[in-house]
């Protein structure tokens, strides 16, 4: 358990999400602690992205509370809300880079919105963020449609990092990447996590990523979340969790990550 008194970065309590008659989440609890990499897994259609959207305030939940840094995000005043939004970075499943802007302009977009800086400094910061995610400088002048899938994921990460967040949300960061690019992304994530002291919340289907990077994992089963370390979840007797972590792919990934 978290050290007494330490406020979790994110605390979700009793979350309910419904689409018409279909209940996606029913009393879901989740807690993310400072400076950890927290993985969210679940079968297709169990509402992983819905959960992320709800935490980010892109969707109002039907019931339940969401706290970030101990504050209820649904009750924030507009100014506090804006400050909160600036304190985290998000990457979406398909990158969601603005297609009419170059990569550098995409990175500079939030900087221009929230801060006043000269063009020179903005260019330097764009370069810095490209460097941070391991993209070539030339990539900055390209449009998203000219990038490969792996580069789009990195560029999206660069944009998410540009406001220097302490908290990072990643929606399937390695989906659609070849194993080498995905492994490189895992490395990058671990590196940034240690160097920039980030808290990371990551939705992933990629078992390799999960075993390599995540300290704790939340599994969405039966419309609720079961959280624990990987070792705890490996022992879990829930049939879905058991199948998930003991399927042929999981065994290979586990062997890979832990020798």
């Amino acid at each position: 358990m978290a050290a007494a008194g330490a406020i979790p970065v994110i605390r979700v309590r009793g979350l309910v999400n419904r689409f018409g008659a279909q209940v996606v989440h029913d009393g879901l609890d989740m807690e993310v602690r400072e400076n950890e990499i927290f993985g969210i897994v679940g079968g297709s259609g169990t509402g992983k992205s819905v959960l992320l959207h709800t935490i980010l305030g892109l969707r109002a939940p039907d019931a339940g509370t969401i706290e970030m840094y101990g504050r209820d995000v649904q009750r924030l005043a507009a100014a506090d809300r804006s400050a909160l939004v600036q304190s985290y970075g998000v990457t979406f499943q398909n990158g969601a880079l603005i297609s009419s802007l170059t990569v550098a302009q995409n990175i500079q977009l939030p900087l221009r919105e929230y801060h006043r800086a000269s063009e020179k400094t903005l260019d330097e910061l764009a370069e810095l963020n490209l460097d941070l995610v391991g993209l070539d400088r030339d990539a900055g002048a390209k449009y998203p449609s000219q990038l490969s899938g792996g580069m789009v994921k990195r560029a999206a990460l660069a944009r998410a990092l540009c406001l220097e967040p302490k908290l990072l949300f990643l929606d399937e960061p390695t989906a659609g990447l070849d194993p080498i690019s995905a492994a490189a992304f895992d490395q990058l994530l671990l590196y940034l996590h240690s160097q920039l002291r980030l808290t990371v919340v990551m939705i992933t289907h990629d078992l390799d990523t999960l075993f390599r990077t995540c300290e704790r994992v939340g599994v969405i089963v039966d419309r609720r979340m079961i959280c624990g370390t990987l070792d705890e979840l490996l022992q879990n007797r829930n049939p879905w969790i058991h199948d998930y972590f003991h399927g042929p792919r999981a065994r290979a990934a586990d062997k890979d990550a832990h020798g």
């Binding site: 009419s100 006043r116 800086a117 910061l125 460097d131 400088r137 002048a141 160097q195």
Partner: protein
């Protein structure tokens, strides 16, 4: 943070310098930090110690800007070190800076003369390929149409019905309203002028000929170009962005047959039908104004209308409708098929579809007018 605080304090002389970083050094303060960095003297040499002990919540961006500026000002052999609990990410930034190689974020621009010659050349080539593309597109539509006449299943009746409904039936209210109002305006203006000669009754001729020959079909075509031309371009454009058209091709289906031909045929059916409705509403508008404003009773209006009509008046308007329909559908779908890569392209090409189809409709109308005068239609 009051902006009066100096975030930088430089002390020392000769080859021994010390730089104190004070106050707010977070990203939020970058607007304030930046000008002071610019003011650092360009004459620094020897050693420089940056003291971070009084910097509050240092951010990555400002730290990076500091490193960049120190690398620029002073001589290349300036030894920079950091004390006073520098932020944890500083090491990372220094490493990145060491690996830094010069590369422009924006491609260098050629001088203006070269650039203008180049852009003129590119424009000419683009126009050439564009013209070729349009001709090819038209050819494909015709060939697919030819094939589907032999194979009626390829005509996709359900898709055709949907497009007739969307482009035709749902346009009836707006087309009717506009035709009605415009003919009221024409009749009103005509009445004012003809009244001077005591020739009120000729308002009927004016309205009849204007509406049936020109206004009905032209207004309908312009409304349909705005409604359906843009819809065609946007619909097909989004399918392009989603790789849906590629998927169709990969499954061995022809996007022209599936997307373009039904829309074109639908418009060829819908636009003439709408024109008939617009004609009727226009005559009704003229009749109403004549009754209310000029006190011409309806039976008199109708009999005058009969006299003013020549057998070709109605058909000379209606015959243009299918031609306009083909122009609108082709421009809309062609521009939609051209969408690549970005949301901005989609907007640009949708706009272009509407503007060009309206232009082509008016141009074609002018050509028809000349033709009809020549053959006395």
């Amino acid at each position: 943070m009051s902006p009066s605080i100096n975030v930088l304090a430089l002390e020392g002389a000769g080859t021994d310098w010390r730089l104190h970083l004070n106050g707010d050094w977070s990203l939020a303060a970058i607007a304030h930090i930046e000008p002071q960095l610019e003011d650092l003297p360009a004459t620094l040499r020897g050693t420089l110690v940056c003291d971070w002990s009084r910097a509050q919540s240092p951010g990555i961006g400002p730290a990076w800007a500091l490193l960049m500026r120190l690398a620029e000002c002073g001589d290349p052999h300036l030894q920079v070190s950091h004390t006073g609990d520098p932020p944890h990410f500083l090491e990372l930034l220094q490493r990145l800076k060491a690996e830094r190689h010069a590369a422009a974020l924006v491609p260098a621009e050629a001088p203006i003369l070269e650039r203008s010659v180049e852009s003129l050349g590119r424009w000419a080539v683009r126009q050439g390929t564009e013209a070729g593309g349009v001709i090819e597109f038209f050819g494909r539509i015709v060939s697919v149409l030819g094939q589907s006449l032999a194979r009626p299943r390829a005509l996709r009746i359900s898709s055709l019905a949907r497009h007739i409904y969307e482009t035709g039936v749902t346009a009836i209210p707006i087309v009717s309203l506009i035709a009605f109002l415009i003919s009221v305006i024409v009749a009103y203006l005509g009445a004012q002028q003809l009244n001077k000669f005591g020739a009120d009754i000729f308002v009927v001729d004016l309205v009849t000929i204007a509406v049936l020959r020109e206004m009905g079909v032209l207004l309908t075509a312009i409304i349909v170009a705005g409604r359906s031309g843009s819809a065609f371009a946007a619909e097909i454009g989004v399918m392009q962005l989603n790789e849906e058209t590629d998927a169709l091709r990969a499954m061995g289906m022809n996007p022209i047959e599936l997307l373009v031909v039904p829309r074109t045929l639908a418009l060829v059916i819908a636009l003439p039908s709408l024109t008939v409705i617009a004609d009727a509403m226009g005559l009704a508008g003229g009749g109403l104004l004549s009754l209310v404003n000029l006190h011409i009773p309806l039976p008199q209006f109708v009999s005058r209308l009969r006299e003013s009509l020549s057998p070709t008046t109605f058909w000379s308007g209606l015959i243009k409708a299918p031609v306009f329909a083909v122009l609108i559908a082709m421009v809309g779908t062609y521009r939609g098929m051209q969408v690549r890569d970005s949301a901005r392209e989609l907007g640009r090409l949708t706009t272009m579809a509407v503007v060009q189809s309206i232009f082509l409709v008016i141009l074609a109308d002018a050509l028809f007018a000349v033709l009809f005068v020549q053959i006395d239609f």
